[in-house]
Structures are given as C-alpha cells and as structure tokens.
C-alpha cells in the first residue's frame, strides 16, 4: 500500500518535471520557458562580463564574482566547510577515546 502511494507520487513528480524540461509550448525559441542555450534574463551577467576587468583587474570573471562581487557566499561556504570538518572530527573521535597522536 505504501509502495503504491509512493509510486503514484513519483509518477506525478516525473510528469511535472518532464513537462517543464521538455517545454512543449515553445518550439521556436520565442523566449518562454526553459530553452537550452537561450537564457531569459542576462542583465546582471552582462554587467559582470563587461565591467569585471576594469573593476577588479581580473581576467577570470568567475573568480572575480566568487571572491569580490559575491564574497559573502564564499565566506558562508568556507564556514560550512570548517564546521563540517569540525563535525567529522568530533563525531569520529567519539569512537576511540585515546588517540596516540593528538
């Protein structure tokens, strides 16, 4: 019974995702929905591509976004990595109380 309900949920999800991915309402790149190779909103990225070289003096636009324009994202990401290593160390150290090289 539970399996049948889960399979029904999966079928609904699959049909919904496939409807979005296949995008049957738009055959001729009119700009509606998802079209691979034709993104709809590009204003922010055009600004980054045209101004990153003058403002940050970096050739790599992705690096200038990661470390300069969107630095807070990278700060949170580094904090997440730090916390994950802390969690792994604390959790696995519970297995054996006395380690020789700590």
């Amino acid at each position: 019974m539970r399996n049948i309900a889960m399979i029904a949920v999966f079928a609904i999800l699959l049909s919904f995702f496939m409807y979005i991915a296949l995008n049957p309402a738009d055959f001729g790149y009119s700009g509606e929905g998802l079209n691979f190779g034709h993104p709809r909103f590009t204003d922010m990225d055009d600004y980054f591509i045209h101004n990153a070289q003058n403002q940050t003096a970096s050739n790599n636009v992705v690096t200038s976004i990661v470390f300069d324009y969107r630095g807070f994202d990278t700060l949170g990401e580094a904090t997440v990595l730090f916390t994950a290593v802390l969690g792994v160390g604390l959790g696995l150290r519970m297995l054996r109380g006395d380690e020789d090289d700590e």
Partner: protein, 114 residues
Amino acid sequence: MIFNLPFITVVIVIMFGLYAMVFRRNLIKVVIGLDLVESAVNLFLVSLGYVKGGVAPIYTNAPSTDMVLPTPQALTLTSIVIGVATTAMLLSFCILIYRYYGTLDTRKARRLRE
C-alpha cells in the same frame, strides 16, 4: 524538445536519486542518492547559464568575447564545496551508526539503544 537534452538528463538523474533515497534501506545507498540529486542540481545550474556558441568567461587568450553567464558557474562552485562537506559529514555519521548498531539497515537502526 531534443535541444533541451541537458534538462531531460537532470530530470532523470533527480528521479534516480529520489528513488534511491526513498526505497533503499542501506544508509550508504541513501547517501549515494543524495549525491545524485546534488549532481543533478549542479548540472541544472550550469546548463541554465549556457549561451549558444559561448565560451568560458575567461579573457586570457579567449577565442571570442561571446561568453556564457558567469554567475551560475560561481554559485555551482559554492554548491560543489558544500556538497563535499555534507557528504563527508553524512559518511562519518554512517560510520558512527555502524559502530553503535552493528548494521546500516534503516529498519534495524531505528530502535532506541539503551
């Protein structure tokens, strides 16, 4: 239709990951399903920012100045590192669960151990 092939791949991989997360009983397989969903989301972000005929957004000896969108790539970079961190965390929890319960089966590891 067929030009949306990366998005169709994203849907298929997400469904495989959800299947592994819901129907499998082994915790390692649940972690593998989570990783599949994560990879599918990364592929979705990168293919969302692809511009037809564009090159990578790096000006060093670039063949042309038609560039793909750089912001989804930067956020995908963030997402990959966070995925590695969460996967390491989950696998260490799997090691702990195996030590305490002697099994990785979710039906057997569910009981409260005194």
